[in-house]
Each structure stands twice: as structure tokens, then as C-alpha cells.
């Protein structure tokens, strides 16, 4: 599973992307736990950051599979 970090999440994580090795699909909560275990500085952004899977926003009940590309989408500010 590839994790992409953008904007504030990239700055706080210190990387733009990384690979997470998962053998099974996981829930959003479990995925966040795995991400925060690596990057505890991201904790304050969790409540305002959406997870995208393969370029689409996900719902709270989404399941994330080992081959997915996940992106952390903090509040956007385009335009």
C-alpha cells in the first residue's frame, strides 16, 4: 500500500510518500493507527484530514486493500 502525503501532512511527516506493508484489508481507523504509529506528529491533523483511495475520497466505512494508493488530504486551499 502506497501512502501519499500532501501539504501540511507532507511537511509534518517529512516525506511525500512511503510504502506500508499490509497483508489484509484494513479499516480507516486501523490505517490511521498505522500511519500515526510512524508519524505521531500527524495526530492533530487526523480530524481534519480526509483519506483518498486510488484518487477518490472515501467514506468512514471504507476498507483499504494492500494494493491501494492512499492519499492524506488535509484541508484544501486551491484557487
Amino acid at each position: 500500500m502506497t501512502i501519499l502525503y500532501f501539504a501540511q501532512t507532507r511537511r509534518l511527516a517529512g516525506i511525500a510518500s512511503e510504502t506500508l506493508s499490509l497483508s489484509d484489508p484494513v479499516s480507516a481507523d486501523a490505517l490511521w493507527d498505522a500511519i500515526l504509529a510512524r508519524h505521531p506528529d500527524l495526530a492533530p491533523l487526523r480530524s481534519v484530514t480526509r483519506l483518498a483511495r486510488n484518487g477518490e475520497f472515501t467514506d468512514a466505512d471504507a476498507v483499504f486493500a494492500p494494493g491501494d494508493e492512499i492519499a492524506l488530504i488535509p484541508p484544501v486551499s486551491g484557487g
Binding site: A7, R11, A52, G55, E56, I73, V76, S77, G78, G79
Partner: protein, 127 residues
Amino acid sequence: MHLQIHIGSEPIAAAQPAPAPGEGVGALAEFTGLVRGEENGALIGGLIYEAYQPMAERVIARIIDELCAARPVLGVRVIHRIGRVPVGEAAIYVGVAAKHRAEAFALLAGFMDRLKQDVPIWKTDTF
């Protein structure tokens, strides 16, 4: 409906071609968002924009589809610049061609609102 979306680091040209051709276009509504010389009270030289590009393009296309389902238009062009954008230059251009002005204005304003909520593009820094 003609739809053109471009996200890239090159400057946005001041004059854009019409977002849709033909004799049916009665209204062209355009918005250009420019970088101002001040951000949160501090003087700046410019802003740096970052995008999750494939997703941003997909979300932009979906927003326009949704808005057009309510009130059809003839053509839309969206250009967002990323990377360093100096003060006075355009960060975004949106052009809407429609039969009448009401639907062109509605799409333009509605799109900008949605862009600022849902399109993965960020101002990440000043310079």
C-alpha cells in the same frame, strides 16, 4: 459539453480561447484568481501551490458534471497553476461558455465554492 482541465506549472495566459465554439454561445463568464502581494498581513513575493494532480483533475471533472446536471452549459475550461506563482500572476482561470448568463454565472460561482472545499490543491508556502 466541452471540458478542458489543465494543472501545470507554466504561467496562465491572460487571453484564453473560448471554452466552446459555435453560434449557440451567448454568455462567457470568466474568473481569474491572482496572487495578492499580502498573505495574512505579511508582504510576500508569491505563493507556492501543490496538487495531487490526477485526483484533482478527476474531482474537478466530477464537480463540473454535477453542476451541469442541474444547469447545463456548453463548455468549461479550468486551469490551475502549481509551483511558484509570483504576485500579480494568475493561480487559477475558469471560463464558462453557456447559452445564457444565468447558468454561466451559477456554474462559475458554484465551481469556485466546490473547488475550495474538495479539490486536492493547496497553497503550501509563500516566497
